[in-house]
């Protein structure tokens, strides 16, 4: 009985993921097809394109598949992918998977740092603001969070670059390794040093969102009947908060934290662009601009899986942590 339910759950989630992947790959292919960008022109450069012979141009158009209809391109791609072949990135002239593997490691580090940082600080700031609602602490945190929540990521990135990289020269102004050093040669210290500024930019935006949500939840809890009853029974404010606030905060915080994966992912595209950080987001931008359908679709699928898994983990953890789900209904 229990086994059946588990199989059912896994089956349902897998089906959802497959449908998601199919739809996303179609949309990505379609978008590349309707894009007004001429991949040949984009990838050879203005001068080279102008001086190119017509034959050479035709050869390159053949290479980029300019004249192949989108449906045919898609079915070719789909046939290959079923056999595990992700294709070749035309822009990087490498197999798609190896481009992604390299970029993903860079991005993953950036995103994990930003994700953990924004989660922890967002939660702490949110609790502080909620507990001291209306006081100075709250006003400062709320002001900070509201300002940042309405700040565009790329603008904050530029600002950080100007202040910390250009004026103060504390951090490098871009890339994941020092100039002239390849990724393989760079030490961990060098890589972390290059990571700090983009990770900080990415997490500062995330903090705002999590802090504001946490603040609301803390206020809800402190206005709840059970919090009042705890005080009425002689628990001090500190005890009541410890006993009732953290536990009830954990569930929404978890959902928020895993849902924020998609935001961090989206933000990383902009931040990597601003900091010339060679991550997945930057690769996505150049694949899009260069008409590199195979790479763009692969990145879209990887990101979708990533976000999907984040939400799935949150759902499952809910069942583990929340007794109302665990004892009440079980999985799904």
């Amino acid at each position: 009985m229990k086994r059946n339910r588990l199989l059912n759950f896994v089956g349902k989630q897998a089906a959802k993921l497959i449908i998601l992947i199919v739809v996303i790959s179609m949309v990505a292919f379609f978008l590349v097809a309707v894009s007004p960008i001429d991949p040949v022109q984009m990838n050879t450069g203005q001068a080279a394109y102008a001086n190119m012979s017509l034959e050479k141009r035709a050869q390159l158009e053949e290479y980029w598949g300019v004249n192949t209809p989108v449906v045919e391109k898609y079915t070719n791609w789909a046939k290959d992918i079923i056999h595990g072949d992700w294709g070749t990135s035309l822009r990087f002239n490498q197999p798609v998977l190896s481009v992604i593997a390299e970029r993903f490691t860079n991005s993953l580090l950036l995103m994990i740092v930003a994700w953990l940082f924004s989660g922890v600080f967002g939660l702490l700031l949110g609790i502080a603001a909620g507990v001291y609602r209306g006081k100075l602490v709250d006003k400062i945190i709320k002001g900070y969070a509201l300002t940042l929540a309405s700040t565009p990521t790329f603008w904050l990135g530029l600002l950080m670059l100007m202040i910390f990289a250009v004026w103060l020269s504390w951090f490098p102004f871009g890339f994941s390794t020092p100039i002239g050093v390849s990724a393989a040669e760079a030490t961990l210290g060098q890589r972390l040093y290059h990571l700090i500024l983009p990770a900080l930019t990415l997490s500062i935006i995330g903090v705002a969102n999590i802090a504001l949500h946490t603040r609301e939840k803390v206020i809800d809890i402190m206005e709840s009947d059970f919090y009042l009853f705890a005080l009425a029974r002689g628990e001090s404010r500190g005890e009541a908060l410890r006993h009732h606030c953290l536990r009830n905060l954990l569930l929404p915080a978890m959902t928020l934290q895993f849902a924020s994966i998609s935001e961090i992912f989206g933000g990383s595209v902009l931040v990597e662009q601003v900091f010339s950080y060679p991550g997945l987001g930057q690769a996505a931008v150049s694949a899009g601009i260069g008409g590199d359908a195979a790479l763009l679709v692969a990145i879209a699928i990887i990101s979708a899986c990533f976000v999907f898994c984040g939400n799935l983990i949150a759902n499952i953890l809910y069942g583990v942590v929340d007794p109302r789900i665990r004892r009440g209904h079980g999985l799904g």
Binding site: D225, L228, R233, G234, E235, E239, R247, P323
Partner: protein, 316 residues
């Protein structure tokens, strides 16, 4: 007949509660929700505060426990076992001397198991023993301590809340509408539990809208109307209309099924449109212009009343 021979546990004198609120735009106004309320609880006594829904009765409970929100302004004198209550002494008494029995399961943390909730998260053997004794006393299965609030039935939840209130041996229980949602059997049991607690020399302040319930269990009844107590009377006075003091209490009495079921027309005044003087004036058959002045508290026999028309001679 001698009155007030027993020791006071709780005395409330001229309690007024008002809230500072933003009216239109930035204009602040003060909303008076409780006015000159006086009620007292003696040792071994259940005192019921009876009033219609929305008359501010719950605020009375919160005021005694010092748990009103920050924008509330409280005046008047509160005394517990003869000593005046201050913010600090209320904080020290919460849970120990004075405790609350709330009205519903929403007052239990949804993510805390019943046993742990009753123990206030304490893990020591003493707390555990006490909690198990209380569960046994209320005929709760020992396994109940591992259930979450959503797994409790209405009756179990009431007993858990009662056990929670009794955990630290209070002297006074303030029970805020403890019976709605319970079937008659359970409601009777709940009241029997309060009776047993009071009979040990403690006090219960029962806040309810259910006058029949109050009459069946309380020793004295305080009638709450539009934010104040208009009359405080021994329950025996409710056996006949003539022994009651206030016109509103008499109207309540006549509204009881066994006394004619006659409803009084009109509604309680809203806090923003309170009449001058006696709040019951506009609905009172004895109304005269003098009712719009100051209405002092009078003691008639073993009860008190706020009505200038009430006299000792009402007695038959």
């Amino acid at each position: 007949m001698t009155c007030l021979t027993k020791k006071h546990i709780l005395e409330i004198e001229n309690l007024s509660v008002s809230f500072l609120q933003y009216d239109k735009g930035m204009r602040q106004r003060s909303l008076q929700v409780i006015t000159n309320l006086s009620v007292s609880v003696h040792e071994g006594e259940i005192v019921a505060v009876v009033g219609a829904s929305g008359s501010g009765k719950s605020l009375l409970a919160h005021a005694v426990l010092g748990l009103l929100p920050a924008n509330a302004d409280v005046s008047g004198t509160l005394r517990f076992e003869g000593k005046p209550l201050t913010a600090a002494s209320i904080a020290a008494l919460r849970g120990k001397g004075i405790t609350l029995v709330p009205q519903s399961i929403a007052y239990l943390d949804p993510l805390l198991k019943a046993g742990k909730a009753v123990r206030k998260n304490k893990r020591d053997a003493g707390a555990r023993k006490k909690q198990r004794e209380l569960f046994a006393h209320f005929q709760l299965d020992p396994a109940t301590e591992n259930l979450y609030p959503f797994e409790l039935s209405g009756g179990m939840a009431r007993r858990v809340l009662l056990a929670a209130a009794l955990m630290d041996d209070p002297r006074l229980i303030i029970a805020d509408e403890p019976t709605p949602g319970l079937d008659l059997e359970l409601a009777k049991k709940a009241l029997a539990d309060f009776r047993a607690f009071a009979d040990q020399g403690n006090g219960v302040l029962l806040i309810t809208h259910d006058i029949e319930l109050a009459l069946s269990v309380a020793d004295r009844i305080a009638v709450f109307y539009a934010g104040t107590t208009v009359e405080e009377a021994p329950v025996i006075d409710f056996e006949a209309e003539t022994t009651l003091r206030h016109p509103y209490t008499k109207a309540l009495w006549r509204a009881l099924p066994e006394n004619g079921f006659a409803a009084l027309p009109g509604n309680q005044p809203y806090v923003k449109a309170m009449p001058k003087g006696c709040p019951f004036g506009p609905r009172c058959s004895l109304f005269s212009p003098s009712c719009e002045g100051e209405i002092p508290l009078k003691t008639i026999r073993c009860g008190t009343v706020r009505c200038i028309k009430a006299t000792g001679s009402v007695e038959v």
